[in-house]
Amino acid sequence: MVSYLINGISLGAIYAIIALGYTMVYGIAKMLNFAHGDVIMVGGYMAYCSVSYLGWSPAAAVIFAMAVCTILGITIEKLAYKPLRDASSLAVLITAIGVSYFLQNAALLIFSSNPKVFPNLFSDMFTIKVGEATVTSVAVVTILSCIIIMVALTLFTSKTKMGKAMRAVSEDRGAATLMGINVNSTISVTFAIGSGLAAIAGVLLCSAYPTLMPTTGAMPGIKAFTAAVFGGIGSIPGAMLGGILLGVIEIFAKAYISTQLSDAIVFAVLIIVLIVKPTGLLGKKLTEKV
C-alpha cells in the first residue's frame, strides 16, 4: 500500500515535470506542443550516449541532456512554430504532430528501433525504508527534483522580471508588446525552460523504466498532457497536482484493478473531472478576451 503510493507519487512527479512544459507553453504561446513528449526521448538518448559511450558522470550527462534539449526546444520553436504565429491553431497543431514524427524518425535513423537499456544513474546511491516499503533512490531523486522545480518555477514567475513578463504575455500579448516586452523572446525562453525540464524528465523516466526507444516519449507525453488538462492547462500548480494524481491513480489502478485497463481508467477519471469542472482542477475560468 505505502509502496504503491510512493511509486505512484514518483511516477506522477515525472508526469508533473513533463506537464509543466506543456502548460507553460500553452499558457504563453497558446499552443499545444505535441512534440514535447519526444523531447523527453531525445533527453533520454543524450544522457544514454554520454554515460554509455563517453563514460561521463551522471551529473554531466544530465547537464548535457538539458543543454541539447534546451537548444532543440528553441530551434523547434524558431523553425516550426514562429512562422505560424498568426496562423490557425489547427495548422499549428498539425505542425506540432509533424515535428513529433520528425523527432521519432530521426531517432529511429540514428539509434535504430532496438531498445537501449538505460543505465540507472541513481541506482546504488541509497535506499530508504518506510515501514515495510523500500524507497529506491530513483524515487527519492525524482520526488525531490519535482519539488525543487516547482519551487524554482514559482519563484521565477512571481519574482523575476522575465517571469512577470511571461505572465503578462500569457494574459495579453498585445498589451505586453506595448510595455516594450519582446513577445518572441519570451516565447523562446518558455520553450527553453519547458525543453530543459523535459530532459530532466527523460533521465528520471529512463532511470525508473530503463527501456529506451524512439517512441519512449510518446505515451508519457500524452499522459502528461492529460495531467496538464486535468490540473487546469496554463496553471503551474495545476500541472503539478494533475501529474501526481495521475501517477497515483495509474499505479493503484494497475495494482488493484487491471494492468491492461489502467490507462483507460486514467482517461475515464480525466473525462469525469472535465465534465464536473471543464477548466480542470486548478484552472481559472476562461475570461472573455475583447
Binding site: 512577470k164 513578463a165 505572465r167 494574459e171 505586453a176 508588446t177 506595448l178 519582446n182 475583447v290
Partner: protein
C-alpha cells in the same frame, strides 16, 4: 518646438477592408493633439499603426524625425513612444505594482523606483492599492492604472485611446486633469476621444476623422465653434 510625430499619406487595411485611407497629421513637441470621430472612423487603427502593432500598406510615420516603419512595436517603447490602449487592458492577474513594473520593462532597474514615485504622485490611489490584483480594481482605478503603466516608460509621446470610456462624469474630469498635468510635466500627448467636448477643450490642435479620412482640422477652439463639428460630435 520640434516635430514629435509626423504621419503622411497613411493607408491601413484589415484584409480587404480599407480602414485608413491616406490620412496625414502631425504632433509637435509639448502639444496635446486630439483625434476625434465617430465609432469606426479609424482612430484606434491609426494609433495602433503608429505604435507598430499594425502594418501600414502605404505612407510614412516619422517619430522624433526618424522614419519608424518596420521597427517592431516593443522597440518603439524604449525610443520614447507609449500607447495606453483602448479598453485599458491592464494585466488582470498581476498586482497593481507588477502592472506598473511591466510598464517600465524597457528601462534600467535603477530608474524604476523614480518612475514609480512620479506615477504614485499623479495617482495616489494606485499607491494605496499597490498590492491589489488589478482585475479587482474598479473601472476608474483600472483606467488610472493603465495610464500610470504607460507613463512608467517615461515616454516623450503618450498616446491615449479613449481614456474616458465608460467612466462617470466626475472621473472623466479627473482623468482629463491628469492628462493636462502629464502634459505640463513635459509629455507630448496624442489623445483619441469620443468625448469631443472635453477633448477639444484641452487640445492645442485637433483632427476630425471620418471613415478613414481627415475631414477637418484646426485648433481646439476653432473646432469647438465649427458648425459641422458641433452638429456631428457635440450634439448641436
Amino acid at each position: 518646438m520640434g516635430n514629435m510625430l509626423k504621419v503622411e499619406d497613411l493607408h491601413v487595411y484589415y484584409g480587404s477592408i480599407h480602414a485608413i485611407k491616406g490620412i496625414a497629421f502631425e504632433v509637435n513637441e509639448g502639444e496635446i493633439v486630439t483625434l476625434i470621430g465617430a465609432n469606426g472612423a479609424g482612430k484606434s487603427t491609426t494609433l495602433n499603426t503608429v505604435a507598430g502593432l499594425l502594418k501600414a500598406s502605404r505612407g510614412e510615420v516619422e517619430f522624433k524625425g526618424e522614419k519608424i516603419a518596420g521597427i517592431p512595436a516593443h522597440k518603439l517603447v524604449s525610443r520614447g513612444m507609449s500607447l495606453c490602449p483602448e479598453g485599458r487592458r491592464v494585466f488582470q492577474e498581476l498586482t497593481v505594482r507588477e502592472n506598473l513594473e511591466m510598464g517600465a520593462f524597457s528601462r534600467p532597474k535603477a530608474e524604476v523606483n523614480e518612475s514609480l514615485e512620479t506615477v504614485y504622485e499623479l495617482f495616489p490611489r494606485l499607491k494605496e492599492r499597490y498590492k491589489q490584483i488589478a482585475g479587482t480594481l474598479s473601472g476608474g482605478e483600472q483606467q488610472m492604472l493603465a495610464m500610470g503603466r504607460s507613463l512608467m516608460s517615461k515616454p516623450a509621446l503618450m498616446m491615449l485611446d479613449e481614456p474616458s470610456m465608460g467612466l462617470a462624469p466626475i472621473l472623466v474630469e479627473q482623468i482629463f486633469d491628469i492628462i493636462k498635468e502629464m502634459n505640463k510635466n513635459g509629455t507630448t500627448i496624442l489623445l483619441v476621444e469620443q468625448n469631443a467636448q472635453m477633448a477639444l477643450s484641452i487640445a492645442s490642435r485637433a483632427y476630425v476623422l471620418e471613415t478613414g479620412r481627415v475631414v477637418s482640422s484646426g485648433t481646439g477652439e476653432k473646432l469647438l465653434k465649427d458648425d459641422a463639428v458641433r452638429k456631428a460630435y457635440l450634439g448641436g
